[in-house]
């Protein structure tokens, strides 16, 4: 790692294009990483950051474009190639063996051995402790991963890169799972590493962190390269507008609002996280009334999923109270909530929403098969089920190869989603919870689904929409609540707010007290 470099840049990714069936994930993207700098890569979900990094790390091959290291063109066909070029990555989900010690995890794959393959751990320990002291990466080499904090796990991942003498370090959304104190420590470590000559790529969508730690920032939006700026020369608001861009409005027709009674009331809800030891949802309170669409906006992974799990009964609450139409449903099983009038369009239609190997008609009655219309004396009433499915197919324009008996797996994503929406709306719910209802769908399907959701609101139902799409949030909702790190940090009016303002809340750069 000398000071003499052949090129100004440690790594250059020039005109990279990567296509997946039906989508261009990276469209002519150029990214140049200088020696010893911290370079942030900013963009919303689906902007193409992960794909670009996967290309750099050898997990994907780009169709077009070149990668240069130190000015010399290189081919990276696998993570091993990347490693040989000194490129290391801290994945968003750590790749650590839980029951191994920190030391074992660091040396795994690159172990110092004596004769007969016997491990020489003392040698490794010395190198690790030296690195640990040099960069302030405090770890206990003999502790097991399962017993240490997320912060120390992350330091273990960083040491894994340093142990392999990597000098180009990729951090994939490293702060998502950390506490504020741990984030602060990580920022310091990253600055130390850069000061020692490491070149760092920092993937994030948290503006404050980027402003604090990065020298430069490249912005991607919808697979396209927007530009690279010096963080010293821009404001957070400018970065935010680069990230979200201009709104393309497909405006949704809405009738004048007639607010009804409070349908859903959530008080001080806290839900544990499955990924880390902190709570995913912290003390959230909100109300949804009949005739309004309340949208929970935010960047992926800020507790929205867990909030919905807690609300619908898929996960138990740590604390808090949920009231639906005047009844306490905090401890109620899922089935009862559903019968009481809670409909749930789930985030993951393949995991929760559908039994993919069931026919369309069987999925149409998934929430109602036990009702007398569909079951008599324990036997399914196939005729009624068929009729229900045929009605839904007609009403919601669900297209499938063989009508009601089509295997759901063979249907297109849009039609699968329509089937779920038909099922949930046809239950005539008091409260409709729609989580990312248009994810991955084409424009036609999106428009249709938005219309259905607005129709529910116009009919006086309460709608809770959870969305990551800025356009959707602004177009469809009557009231926006922004969730950041498990808390509601802002309430916005879609008529008066701007994407830039929303971006500031979503990225944690701005917050206010919100009273439910």
């Amino acid at each position: 790692m000398g000071n003499e470099h052949n090129s100004e840049y440690a790594i250059e990714m020039l005109h990279i294009t990567k296509r997946f069936p039906g989508i261009i994930a990276n469209d002519d993207i150029t990214l140049q990483l200088r020696h010893g700098e911290i370079h942030a890569l900013l963009g919303e979900n689906g902007a193409g950051k992960s794909t670009l990094m996967s290309v750099l790390f050898g997990l994907y091959q780009a169709e077009e474009g070149t990668i240069k290291k130190d000015g010399k063109e290189v081919k990276i066909l696998s993570p091993n190639d990347a490693n040989a070029l000194g490129i290391g990555m801290v994945h968003q989900h750590f790749k650590l063996v839980e029951c191994f010690t920190v030391l074992d995890n660091i040396i795994l794959g690159d172990e110092p051995v004596g004769p007969m393959g016997i491990l020489k751990k003392e040698e490794a320990r010395k190198k690790i402790m030296d690195l640990s002291n040099k960069y302030g990466l405090q770890v206990d080499p003999d502790a097991k991963i399962q017993d240490i904090t997320v912060g120390m796990q992350q330091r273990t991942e960083i040491l894994k890169m340093l142990y392999r003498d990597n000098e180009i370090l990729i951090f994939d959304e490293p702060t998502a799972v950390l506490t504020p104190q741990e984030i602060h420590d990580l920022m310091k470590i990253m600055k130390n590493l850069a000061a020692e000559g490491m070149s760092i790529l920092f993937i994030s969508h948290k503006l404050a962190e980027i402003m604090e730690v990065a020298d430069r920032c490249s912005v991607l939006r919808k697979g396209k390269y927007i530009g690279t700026v010096n963080t010293a020369d821009v404001t957070m608001a400018e970065l935010s507008s680069m990230m979200v861009g201009r709104n393309v409005n497909f405006h949704v027709e809405k009738k004048e609002q007639h607010l009804g009674d409070v349908i859903l009331e959530v008080e001080n809800m806290t839900v544990a996280s499955k990924v880390h030891k902190n709570n995913a949802v912290k003390n959230v309170s909100l109300k949804v009334r009949g005739g309004e669409i309340v949208c929970i906006a935010g960047i992926d992974g800020n507790g929205q999923t867990e909030f919905v799990y807690g609300l619908t009964g898929l996960e138990p609450l740590v604390s808090g109270k949920i009231t639906l139409m005047g009844k306490d449903i905090t401890k109620m099983p899922i089935r009862k909530r559903s019968i009481m009038g809670m409909s749930h369009i789930p985030e993951d239609r393949h995991k929760h929403g559908l039994v993919l190997d069931y026919s369309l008609e069987d999925n149409i009655v998934l929430q109602r098969y036990f009702e007398p219309t569909f079951t008599k004396n324990g036997f399914l009433r196939r005729k009624n089920i068929r009729k229900q499915a045929e009605d839904m197919i007609k009403e919601y324009d669900i297209r499938s190869g063989q009508g009601p008996i089509t295997t759901s797996r063979s249907m297109s994503g849009g039609n699968q989603q329509k089937a779920i929406i038909a099922r949930e709306i046809e239950k005539d719910p008091g409260l409709l919870i729609a989580v990312q209802p248009t994810r991955g769908l084409d424009v036609g399907a999106i428009e249709f689904i938005h219309k259905q959701i607005v129709a529910q609101r116009d009919a006086g139902k309460a709608v809770l929409l959870v969305s990551l799409e800025m356009d959707e949030v602004l177009d469809v909702s009557d009231r926006i609540l922004v969730m950041y790190e498990g808390e509601i940090v802002g309430q916005l009016d879609p008529k008066t707010t701007t994407p830039e303002e929303m971006g500031l809340y979503m990225a944690g750069a701005k917050r206010e007290e919100v009273k439910p």
């Binding site: 490693n83 790749k95 063996v97 795994l108 393959g117 491990l119």
Partner: protein, 312 residues
């Protein structure tokens, strides 16, 4: 008393060897329900060598050759699991069950075919190896044989391999978190093959030890009477760790031995418990252990899940 200890040690060596085999396979991420079948084939390989070696062969040669034959037979048989589970992502429980059934049936077919070829009026599934068996004994008149020191060596070797070598570290990583192992350039397929094949080696040897314990002929129709399953219990009770496995094997071997010789003890005879109770105890204990400690399960986390390079 001496009889009890003899039996206990013999059974414990068998259980320990086979359970260590299972331990390697599971640490690499493949559940090996087929240990019973592997034992049968190992026993068959060893028995065939013992019965075919000419009478004058020196004891040392007999010992070495039959051990090698048993291990080789177990290894080849375990390939059935490796290919199906690793390359074809087959259901490991299904394949293991098939291997257990095939073990007894296949071995019986082979032995009967050999026996009837030699003498059409002898359609039995028994192999005799009276002469060769003596070569294994360490002390005349007692059931202490070469296998016991060998088992002890293999125990220590297993521990060293698992916890002190690069190979062991990498293999266990594949059973715990194959994606993590692959991300640092480890070939998960190769390591899993290694784990399954080692279980074949040790399981095969265990089969040979079992059929030479106290008897000098074996009827292959009987298989190995559930010792492969008992070894699974030993492995679970031993929390997938070699030395704990050894202790568990001694404990379970003790119960097994008691069921054979309990009539020799006055106070046990007065208890008047049927021998089946002693046979049952190991299984009941393992089941209780599973129930009590299911929360902090020591089983390798990725065992039984086929590794797919696509998932990250």
């Amino acid at each position: 008393m001496i009889l009890l200890i003899q039996y206990m040690i013999v059974f414990a060596s068998v259980l320990m060897l086979v359970a260590l085999g299972g331990c390697f396979s599971e640490h690499s991420g493949v559940i090996n329900i087929g240990l019973e079948g592997i034992m049968v084939f190992g026993a068959l390989g060893g028995a065939l060598v013992m019965s075919t070696l000419p009478a004058g062969t020196s004891g040392f040669v007999i010992v070495i050759l039959s051990i090698l034959a048993a291990m080789a037979a177990g290894l080849i048989y375990s390939l059935l699991l490796a290919v199906a589970a690793i390359n074809f992502k087959a259901d490991q429980t299904l394949v293991g069950t098939a291997m257990n059934l095939l073990g007894t049936a296949g071995a019986t077919v082979i032995v009967k075919a050999i026996n009837t070829k030699a003498n059409p009026d002898n359609p039995s599934s028994t192999i005799q190896y009276i002469g060769a068996k003596k070569a294994f004994l360490l002390v005349e008149g007692y059931e202490f044989n070469w296998f016991m020191p060998l088992a002890l060596c293999l125990l220590i070797l297993s521990w060293v391999i698992l916890y002190k070598t690069r190979f062991g570290l990498r293999m266990m990583a594949c059973g715990e978190h194959p994606q993590a192992a692959a991300s640092v350039g480890i070939n998960v397929f190769k390591m899993r093959y290694a784990g399954v094949l080692i279980s074949g080696l040790l399981g095969g040897l265990g089969g040979l030890v079992y059929i030479t314990a106290g008897v000098s002929e074996w009827k292959f129709e009987n298989g190995v009477a559930g010792f492969g399953f008992l070894a699974l219990a030993v492995m679970i009770f031993g929390e997938w760790k070699p030395f704990k496995i050894a202790l568990a094997a001694l404990l379970f071997g003790f119960f097994r031995a008691l069921s054979n010789v309990y009539t020799g003890f006055d106070f046990l005879r007065t208890l008047n418990l049927p021998s089946t109770v002693y046979n049952m105890l190991p299984y009941i204990i393992s089941l209780i252990v599973l129930v009590l400690f299911s929360g902090n399960n020591a089983a390798p986390k990725a065992e039984g899940i086929p590794y797919d390079q696509g998932t990250r």
